[in-house]
């Protein structure tokens, strides 16, 4: 800049004087005062707009940084949720179903065994009739078989009743175990189909949420850095706006010099002040270009950041599909686990009923066994007594033998039934133990953990989404404000042209003024090193001595 001023100074040396140089000064002064006044309003407006934007940019950067902290709160619940969902998928009702089916099979066998006793019971009835018939042949004689007939009749009646009761109980038992087995098969099938697919889907959505968290966290870090740069750039613009004050002071010095010039020094003054004004115009033009370029750069950066941020952050803001799917999935899992819990309770009740019913049947069967033993005793007695009668007692002996045989069969059937009943009770006990573990602390705790983790995740997501909404709104507002700042600052072409016109006017007024003419020009009240530098460039060796300049301070600051 100063080199070009020196070149300009060499060009003007050797020229003649303009006769009416001072005549141009009032017009130039008026124009320069107008420029200083009009540009101040625009610079003030730009400053008033930009400085709040710097604070907004800093707020967004801080918000972006804290976003990562908010999302971090969701990581814990996510981990718990994933673990519990996995556990829910792992719980298997297959083992219980196997036992239920075994109970069902044994129940069928018990029913068949009881049904197999029916012919024996009918045979007992026949034997009872035959016993009465044969006994009556010996009525009034030496041997009395009335008691035998009565006993056989009563016992066969009793055994029939007991077997009938056992049969009814066995039918109820079978119906109950069949129902329980069907329920377990259905539940097992449902679990395998629903829970597995559901947990897979929930897992996939949880992974999407994790990936989204990572994306947003990384974006938040990048955004914080970028907004930090935007804030710094706006700070540079604010510094650049101060050039107006510098130019304003220079113009004041120029006006003062022009107004204070005598007629004799007018040409030299015009020459010098034209150079000063040229320097001020360049400063002003550079600052306007600098501010506009910086504003436009900030606007471009803001647009890039907005686009990237809205693309990533917009995913979580207003779009709750991830969380909604996870929440729905967790609700379904909880429902299924609660169904299983209800089913487990029903299973426990059914098992208790089976146990009770088998105990009842066992008691009845024990009674049948007792009757069979009694029948065997009566049959043995009858056989002995019939044998004493010789040939006459042969029919009765045969009946007694048949009764004994039936009693033996009954005993055997009873023993077989008892074994099956004991086996069923053993399976019921094992079933209760396993179902108790599943329905006890395990499932209830899983349900509670699922609910707590889902609630914590929902809360963390809501906080993050609110923060994202705020950040997005800030970004959009900041971008719009910066665009307006760019538009309203303008190019100041009119002011720059007006300054250029004043330069031309002063040069014309200077005419062919020489550097030696500057000796008569009073040095203006320079306050800046740049003003002295211009003076030196124009006046060359004839420049007045200047005061000692302020030494260069580090970072523009010196403490006393």
């Amino acid at each position: 800049m100063l080199a070009s001023l020196a070149a300009f100074a060499r060009r003007v040396q050797g020229g003649g004087k303009s006769k009416d140089a001072a005549g141009a000064f009032p017009e130039v002064c008026a124009k320069l005062r107008g420029i200083a006044s009009s540009t101040e309003d625009e610079f003030l407006g730009a400053g008033a707009r930009l400085m709040p934007l710097q604070r907004q940019a800093q707020t967004i950067a801080a918000g972006a940084t804290s976003l990562a902290e908010v999302l971090e709160r969701g990581v814990g619940p996510l981990g718990v949720l994933a673990e519990v969902v996995k556990q829910a998928a792992g719980s298997d009702a297959g083992e219980l179903a196997g036992w239920i089916e075994e109970i069902e099979r044994e129940s069928r066998q018990i029913q068949r065994a009881i049904q197999a006793i029916a012919p024996i019971v009918r045979s007992f009835d026949v034997m009872g009739v035959l016993t009465r018939i044969e006994s009556s042949r010996f009525a009034g004689g030496g041997a009395s078989f009335e008691g035998l007939a009565a006993s056989v009749g009563a016992l066969s009646l009793e055994i029939r009743e007991k077997v009938a009761a056992t049969s009814d109980s066995a039918a109820v038992l079978l119906a109950g175990t069949t129902r329980a087995a069907n329920d377990m098969r259905r539940l097992t099938g449902e679990q395998r189909q629903q829970l597995a697919a559901l947990t897979h889907r929930t897992h996939a959505e949880l992974e999407k949420i994790r990936a989204h968290h990572v994306q947003v966290t990384e974006s938040g870090t990048r955004m914080a850095e970028r907004f930090g740069r935007v804030s710094a750039a706006i700070g540079e613009v604010v510094s650049g706006l101060q050039a107006h004050d510098i130019v304003r002071q220079q113009i004041e010095h120029i006006v003062a010099a022009l107004e204070g010039a005598s007629k004799a020094s007018a040409a030299g003054t015009a020459l010098l002040q034209a150079a000063q004004l040229e320097h001020s115009t360049a400063t002003f033009r550079d600052s306007v270009h600098q501010v506009r370029a910086a504003l436009q750069e900030v606007e471009r950066t803001m647009q890039e950041v907005s686009n990237e941020s809205l693309a990533i952050l917009g995913h979580g803001s207003g779009d709750h599909s991830f969380l909604a799917t996870v929440e729905a999935g967790v609700k379904e899992i909880v429902t299924i686990l609660e169904d299983h819990s209800t089913a487990d309770h029903a299973l426990a009740e059914a098992a208790a009923e089976v146990y009770q019913r088998t105990a009842e049947i066992a008691r009845t069967v024990a009674g049948v066994y007792t009757i069979s033993i009694e029948m065997q005793r009566i049959a043995l007695n009858s056989t002995i007594q019939a044998a004493r009668l010789g040939q006459e007692g042969s029919a009765l002996e045969a009946v007694a033998g048949a009764i004994r045989s039936l009693a033996d069969q009954t005993e055997e059937a009873s023993n077989g039934l008892q074994s099956r009943l004991e086996k069923v009770q053993g399976v019921v006990e094992a079933l209760n133990e396993a179902a108790g573990l599943r329905a006890g602390a395990g499932a209830g705790e899983r349900i509670d953990r699922l609910r707590d983790a889902a609630a914590a995740l929902a809360e963390a997501e809501e906080q993050a989404n609110n923060r994202l909404d705020q950040t997005v709104a800030y970004i959009e507002s900041l971008a719009a404000e910066i665009h307006q700042a760019v538009e309203s600052f303008g190019t100041h072409e009119e002011s720059i042209q007006a300054m250029q016109d004043s330069i031309d006017r002063l040069r014309a007024a200077a005419g062919d003024a020489k550097a030696v003419d500057l000796a008569a020009a009073q040095p203006a009240a320079y306050t800046m090193q740049s003003e002295w530098a211009v003076h030196r460039a124009v006046a060359g060796g004839d420049a007045p001595s200047e005061p000692e300049a302020v030494g260069a301070a580090q970072d523009n600051v010196e403490f006393f």
């Binding site: 101040e40 604070r55 700070g235 306050t527 301070a553 523009n556």
Partner: protein
């Protein structure tokens, strides 16, 4: 309790930028358009004065002198914020009782750093 800073400058643009910078950092700011106006706003409640040098009616060095003889404000630190390049002027400000000297243009964070260092 918020600290109050008096900014004295005949440039509305500079006053605007100084005010906003300080207010953003939590300070209360009083503005004065030149040294004479600043003189009328001196009080014991001020924590600092930031002043330009070249101003009409009463320049910055004159203002510093008045501050140092003001019964309530004589111990208030005064920071000079100026385009002035004359070393003699700087020495005069120092002799009058200025605390620091900042050359324009300034960056907001520079100004805040000076304020925070002076106020402690």
């Amino acid at each position: 309790m918020k600290k109050t800073i008096l900014t004295v400058d005949d440039s509305a643009t500079v006053r605007q930028m100084v005010s906003y910078t300080l207010q953003s950092a939590g300070y209360d700011v009083i503005e004065a358009t030149d040294g004479q106006d600043g003189l009328g706003k001196l009080s014991g409640s001020l924590s600092m004065i930031i002043t330009d040098v070249n101003m009409p009616r009463l320049d910055g060095i004159g203002l510093i002198g008045k501050v140092r003889s003001h019964p309530q404000a004589k111990y208030v630190p005064v920071v000079v914020l100026t385009t002035e390049s004359d070393a003699a002027k700087k020495q005069a400000a120092k002799s009058a009782g200025a605390t620091a000297w900042i050359i324009k243009p300034f960056k907001p964070e520079q100004l805040l750093a000076v304020v925070q260092k002076v106020l402690g």
